[in-house]
């Protein structure tokens, strides 16, 4: 099955290559950040990237992936906390009534 990480990897390859050509540089590493709901598996993404970057300008690029927590605001005590999927409740008052805050998008931070 062709996973969505492949599409992420393809977009990454294009963006890194574009920037490297513009700067006339050889890319060696790229830092990515993503939220909880982007459903990106590090291992799969690195594998997909390695596969499509082979024999291109980006073949030596190492990916570093930073995961940002998903935050929510408690409707009872207004506390902002990081959501744990296995225990979805407010860290302060343990209320289960909370609103999810927007998840961090998938971003190519720097190369």
């Amino acid at each position: 099955m062709l996973m969505h990480e492949m599409m992420v990897a393809q977009n990454l390859l294009v963006q890194i290559t574009d920037e490297a050509v513009k700067q006339n540089a050889k890319p060696v590493a790229a830092k990515i950040s993503c939220g909880k709901l982007n459903a990106v598996n590090d291992e799969v993404l690195c594998f997909a990237f390695e596969a499509i970057a082979k024999d291109t300008l980006c073949q030596d690029v190492k990916l570093e992936i930073e995961h940002k927590p998903l935050q929510a605001k408690c409707k009872d005590c207004n506390q902002i906390f990081n959501v744990e999927f296995s225990k979805p409740q407010c860290k302060k008052c343990e209320s289960g009534d909370f609103e999810l805050l927007p998840d961090a998008p998938l971003i190519l931070e720097e190369i």
């Binding site: 099955m1 977009n11 709901l37 979805p88 931070e109 720097e110």
Partner: protein
């Protein structure tokens, strides 16, 4: 080694295309919904039933996503609703550019509602905006009632 700041959304191409789809639909005043669920939960059954029940009141068009086959599209076709099949050839989700092409093939001006049946997969399709006004999630409780609701 030099560090270059980029700070660009990786899926910006999909995002851009989904916004184009959204404005096209808004201009023509059409409602578009994206149905997602795990395989076999009943997306197609709900679609067929909805089309049949609402046939005399609203005109519905369907964009049918599937990895390989057009079995589901055949079921929709039997209701005489216009349907466009997208085969993802192995990919786990529909992307906005596929929807853009499919919208061109549908007689949108004759329709009130466009329903997208995404690939049967509850994980990946949720990360790809298609330009829809909202999502319909079909949950199959037979697969377990202990899933955390997020």
């Amino acid at each position: 080694m030099k560090k270059i700041k980029i700070e660009k959304k990786i899926l910006s191409e999909n995002q851009k295309c989904s916004i184009e789809n959204k404005s096209l639909l808004a201009e023509r005043n059409k409602l578009c919904l994206n149905m997602i669920s795990s395989p076999g939960s009943g997306k197609t059954t709900i679609l067929v039933r909805t089309i049949t029940e609402l046939k005399d009141r609203i005109k519905i068009g369907v964009i049918e996503g599937d990895i390989q086959t057009d079995i589901d599209a055949e079921r929709i076709r039997a209701t005489e609703a216009p349907v466009v099949q997208i085969n993802t050839e192995g990919a786990c989700h529909l992307s906005a550019v596929q929807i853009s092409r499919a919208l061109n093939k549908l007689p949108i001006d004759d329709l009130d509602l466009i329903l997208i049946e995404n690939v049967g997969n509850l994980v990946c399709p949720s990360a790809f905006e298609l330009g829809e006004a909202g999502k319909i999630v079909v949950l199959s409780v037979a697969e377990g009632d202990d899933k955390p609701a997020t």
